[in-house]
Amino acid sequence: MRFSLSLVILMLVCSGAQARSLAGTSDMLLRATDRSLNFTSDTTTSIRDMKLIQAARDDAASFIASDGAIRTVQLEAALQSLREQLPEAREATDAALAQAILAH
């Protein structure tokens, strides 16, 4: 049963390795629930669709929870992008925008 064994090793061990087939296949289990981790909403607008904003959601949460102490580049990128695209975002504080990202 070397065949099955090998697949399991690949699937179970490989997630921690730099050696992997393509990112994701190695940790299929983790991938399988990605959709639940990356919360998606039923309505969409162009801003909500923006990858930068979606990717910054965890970082917005960290920023708010830590009262501004944890400030990552993902959050900076989302803030810059919002201020470039939304006139009303230009006047808003970082905290207000972070809350909007978290709630979007």
């Binding site: 099955s4 090998s6 994701g24 904003i53 929870a65």
Partner: protein, 649 residues
């Protein structure tokens, strides 16, 4: 004394004044018509050669039609007799014009093949003549002296690979770098014996050795108007060497084609990188962790690509959704990752192009490792050439992967060295990824000072912290704001989802934000436990491995891996053309990659379903419960935000 010496050498080199290559047709036994077509062929060959080639190769070469060559051979050169022989069996077709008919041969017709043969064989003569420019002659003299007094160990960077040279081109370290006979890491300039740039070769004969590589590539440099588009780095090398290039050049396709190996199977994987839009290239290094494969960390490159409407500048560092990561990884196609196979190089090493956010997530959230991203101090020319070399390797390279001698740091270093030709990289010997970061800093190739201020580094994306610390910080927020009895983050995560949920109702915005991250951590923890469970149930030799559901999932995974091969070896999608794909190949590429990607999407959805069936009911229930927690938190966060009248996106 130096200028005088140079002048002297120059004088020596440039005498006699009108020396040049002469091709003499051996007309014995040829009819006037045969002489005529033969001479026309030789004239055309001479006209195709670079002027400097003709000036420097000061010899008379006799060209004759030989009846003694093997049937398959077009011709051969005899360097001692300074003679070039062409296969006499091909003469009749040349005479009656049928040699002009299009064929499936790489050069298009039999006559073009003959022309290429003359150029190929003449290149061998040129190569063997060890022709040096005055500067090269001085360098060689200096390096030979240095070699005899100090030996290999004491040689300077500039002399690396220079003191023992015998050929004009085929033993030039720069040519060998570009061609694919790479220096081995840590072996003082010793080079690979085989060439792993095997895909999309115009003529696999070029891979036999560097001399044939030079001769074959000269054929294409001189005869193919698309050579500059398909092999830009080599075209530049020949152009610099001869200070000349053929006038007939096809305009190239804009941008460098690549396959995006990201896990979002819903997107078209075929993409194109415009070197003009790349602001910086970073050395991207993942810290070591406990697992043996990653004990030394993992070294990658990050391309800081600017958003389409942004001018090149520091702001591009925030266009995270545009950035790509180049990562050498073993392609595990159908075998297991055992330490033994990893050590012996049984997995092909391939260059993967991945979206930045995915790589960050994999390392910081899944593997709980930190990443450093330090800008390499490269000029525009070095960046552009590095990208060209990257594309060249992406479309041609399929190397053996050795964890200890040919690991990711070795591969990344080779790519950097061959791509940038940076003088400080010539003698850089390291095989460990963490060693490479330090050495790049010491040699002034990377700017490590960006890491000095930790807060600033996190804010500007020079550093990405592991989520291990983040989860700890979130738990502290929870401890401060809610009267929870748990004393550590582990204890909190060990609680069943249904008990953690009890605290949601009294959480304020800050606590809720912290809870959101902790719930994600809890869900990932459940997944790891599920993995362990699978390992116990199906890996155990005494357990029943003849489980039908398990066999099915295994088969799906196997298919998925097989199907994904094209992402890291895109050359598989094309059966014609060489080097970088051009317009004529684009449509096929787009269609093919799209249909493979659809298949991948299907298989990955199947696998998800099949794996669910393998999990124990209690585990599955806890996973579902964790997901429900996340949903609930998201709803609460949105309600709280709405109630506070905050900005809505």
């Amino acid at each position: 004394m130096r200028p005088l010496l140079l002048t002297l050498v120059w004088l020596l080199a440039s005498v006699p004044a009108h020396a040049e290559l002469r091709l003499q047709l051996d007309s014995a036994g040829l009819t006037p018509a045969e002489q005529h077509v033969s001479q026309a062929l030789l004239d055309e060959a001479t006209a195709a050669l670079p002027p400097r080639f003709i000036e420097r190769l000061d010899i008379d070469v006799t060209v004759r039609w030989s009846p003694d060559l093997p049937a398959q051979a077009y011709g051969q050169a005899d360097p001692r007799a300074q003679q070039l022989e062409l296969n006499a069996a091909l003469l009749p077709a040349l005479l009656d014009g049928s040699a002009q008919k299009p064929t499936s041969r790489p050069h298009g017709s039999q006559r073009r093949e003959l022309l290429a043969t003359v150029l190929h064989e003449l290149t061998h003569l040129y190569d063997r003549a060890h022709l040096q420019s005055p500067e090269e002659r001085l360098l060689a003299m200096h390096c030979r002296q240095q070699h005899s007094s100090r030996g290999v160990i004491g040689q300077s960077d500039a002399c690396r690979g220079q003191s023992q040279r015998r050929l004009t081109l085929a033993d030039d370290p720069r040519l060998l770098d570009l061609a694919g006979w790479q220096e081995r890491a840590g072996q003082r300039g010793e080079r690979d014996h085989s060439n792993d740039q095997i895909d999309r070769s115009p003529d696999s004969y070029e891979l036999s050795n560097p001399r044939e590589f030079v001769a074959v590539n000269m054929e294409y440099f001189l005869l193919d108007p698309e050579y500059a588009c398909r092999r830009p780095a080599l075209q530049r090398y020949f152009k610099e060497h001869f200070d000349w290039a053929p006038t007939s050049q096809t305009p190239c396709r804009n941008g460098l084609p690549y396959m995006n190996a990201g896990r979002d199977f819903a997107r078209q994987p075929l993409g194109s990188i415009d070197p003009q839009r790349v602001y910086e290239v970073d050395y991207f290094f993942a810290d070591a962790n406990e697992q043996w494969m990653s004990r030394w960390g993992h070294g990658m490159l990050r391309l800081v690509i600017c958003a389409p409407d942004r001018p090149l500048g520091p702001d591009c560092r925030l266009d995270l959704d545009q950035h790509l990561v180049l990562s050498y990884r073993a392609f595990v196609g159908d075998v297991q990752l055992s330490s033994w196979d990893g050590l012996t190089g049984n997995y092909p090493s391939r260059l993967f192009v991945l979206p930045l956010d995915q790589v960050i997530e994999e390392y910081t959230k899944i593997e709980l490792r930190s990443l450093n991203s330090v800008p390499l101090l490269l000029n525009r020319e070095q960046i552009e050439q590095l990208l060209q070399q990257t594309a060249q390797l992406h479309w041609s390279y399929d190397g053996g992967y050795y964890f200890f001698s040919n690991n990711c740091a070795g591969e990344t270093l080779k790519l950097l060295r061959s791509g940038t030709n940076h003088p400080q990289l010539r003698s850089l010997d390291t095989i460990l990824p963490n060693g490479l970061q330090a050495m790049l800093g010491t040699r002034g190739v990377a700017d490590l000072s960006v890491l000095d201020d930790r807060q600033q580094a996190l804010r500007l994306g020079y550093r990405f912290d592991s989520f291990r610390e983040r989860y700890q910080a979130m738990f502290q927020v929870l401890q401060e704001r809610l009267p929870i009895p748990q004393g550590s983050v582990e204890e909190w995560l060990d609680l069943p989802a249904s008990q953690r949920r009890l605290w949601f109702a009294q959480a304020d915005l800050r606590s809720n934000a912290a809870l959101l991250l902790l719930e994600q951590a809890a869900l990932r923890r459940q997944l790891l436990l599920a993995q362990d469970e699978l390992k116990r149930n199906y890996l155990n030799p005494s357990a029943a491995t003849e489980n039908a559901a398990w066999e099915q999932a295994s088969q799906t995974l196997q298919n998925l891996l097989g199907e994904s091969g094209f992402l890291s070896r895109p050359a598989q999608l094309l059966d014609s053309g060489y080097g970088l794909p051009q317009d004529s190949e684009w449509q096929t590429l787009a269609t093919q990659s799209d249909s493979h990607q659809r298949q991948l999407r299907l298989l990955s959805e199947q696998l998800e379903e099949q794996i669910r069936l393998l999990l124990e009911p209690a585990r599955l229930a806890e996973l579902e419960s964790g997901k429900a927690n996340l949903q609930q938190l998201n709803t609460r966060l949105r309600e709280q935000h709405k109630a506070s009248g905050g900005l809505t996106l």
